[in-house]
């Protein structure tokens, strides 16, 4: 159900950015860390419900999953999501759908240990949810605005 909050955040952010520009938003591309396991169908459903009567009225939401790279600051080794799959599965099993990293991917260091030295001193690339792209129609032309 957290997906509703994510849709809300996306819409509010794009509305705030659109402000009083004379545009129609055609597409929003959202980047999410794959291990948040957001349910894309619920997310799109929520987005479609909440976007009504706004500059996002005709907008499509595209969700792109990002696999993070992990680096251990204790031993220096790098690893991928696949190397900690068992650990993540274990946490999901304990908590169910609304598991901690579903809400807050940045909590990963508290729940994941380095597969080499066991430390929690882990840095992730791409742990944040990002709006990576907005496509707008302005004066009959569709153009892409990239974001970080």
């Amino acid at each position: 159900m957290h997906e509703w909050s994510v849709a809300d955040a996306v819409i509010r952010t794009v509305l705030n950015w659109a402000d009083d520009k004379k545009i129609k938003v055609k597409k929003v591309v959202l980047g999410v860390p794959s291990f948040s396991f957001l349910d894309v169908e619920i997310l799109k459903e929520a987005f479609d419900m909440m976007k009504k009567d706004s500059v996002l009225d005709e907008a499509e939401l595209e969700v792109r999953f990002k696999d993070p790279k992990f680096k251990c600051k204790n031993c220096g080794k790098e690893f991928s999501l696949n190397d900690v799959k068992d650990q993540i599965d274990s946490v999901r099993s304990e908590f169910g759908e609304e598991y901690p990293m579903h809400f807050m991917p940045a909590l990963a260091p508290s729940f994941i240990k380095c597969p080499y030295c066991g430390s929690h001193d882990i840095v992730l690339e791409s742990q944040d949810m990002t709006i990576d792209e907005i496509q707008v129609e302005e004066n009959g032309t569709v153009k892409t605005v990239s974001q970080g």
């Binding site: 957290h2 994510v6 908590f95 809400f103 807050m104 940045a106 508290s110 742990q127 974001q147």
Partner: protein
């Protein structure tokens, strides 16, 4: 363009926001923020101390997970006080994190909470870091600064008071653990103070 920041801002927009703060630990911020929330009534109390997570412990809510609805994280309700804490997300796990992850978690906790009271009260962690910087970039809050009478606490808390004044905020200051009743005799174990002081009260 930051979705969580935007959502957090919107959630607090138009609310009366207070932050119970100190640069010093163990002065009674969590106890006082809990008492204030209960006293004010119809308040959402958000526990921003992401490592200590004391608020649910004070209310006997340990081990409980927050329910999540279409409206977001549903607070625990105690009388007319609504409580949100990271411990309702992580259960009884410890939260150990590098510094760079702190602000995202604080922003997320605010952004995703279901806030439908007109008053919001934050219980902050000690230190002068993201807890203050995050709150400042999201909302215009009224600072309530807690200290004890000890010289150490006063000097450390002075850092925060100076910072707040530089940012154009005049804090309300509370002196806690001010004195104790020793069989009718007033004892001040942590030092002298001016103005109104809250007693050391085992109850």
């Amino acid at each position: 363009m930051e979705p969580l920041r935007q959502l957090a801002k919107d959630k607090l927009s138009g609310k009366r926001v207070y932050a119970v703060m100190s640069a010093k630990g163990g002065v009674g911020k969590s106890v006082i923020s809990s008492l204030l929330a209960l006293t004010i009534g119809n308040t959402t109390l958000i526990d921003l101390d992401i490592h200590t997570m004391a608020i649910p412990k004070l209310f006997g809510l340990e081990g409980k997970l927050h329910e999540v609805t279409k409206n977001g994280i549903e607070p625990f309700e105690v009388k007319t006080t609504k409580i949100v804490s990271l411990s309702g997300i992580v259960k009884d796990n410890y939260v150990i994190l590098p510094g760079e992850n702190q602000s995202s978690i604080m922003e997320s906790l605010i952004a995703y909470s279901h806030i439908d009271s007109n008053t919001v009260l934050f219980d902050l962690s000690p230190g002068l870091g993201d807890e203050i910087l995050v709150l400042e970039r999201i909302t215009d809050f009224t600072p309530i600064v807690v200290t004890t009478p000890s010289k150490i606490s006063k000097r450390v808390v002075d850092y925060l008071i100076r910072y707040l004044r530089e940012r154009g905020k005049e804090p309300k200051i509370l002196v806690n653990l001010a004195y104790m009743d020793c069989d009718g005799k007033v004892v001040k174990p942590f030092g002298e103070y001016e103005g109104f002081g809250l007693p050391i009260d085992p109850n």
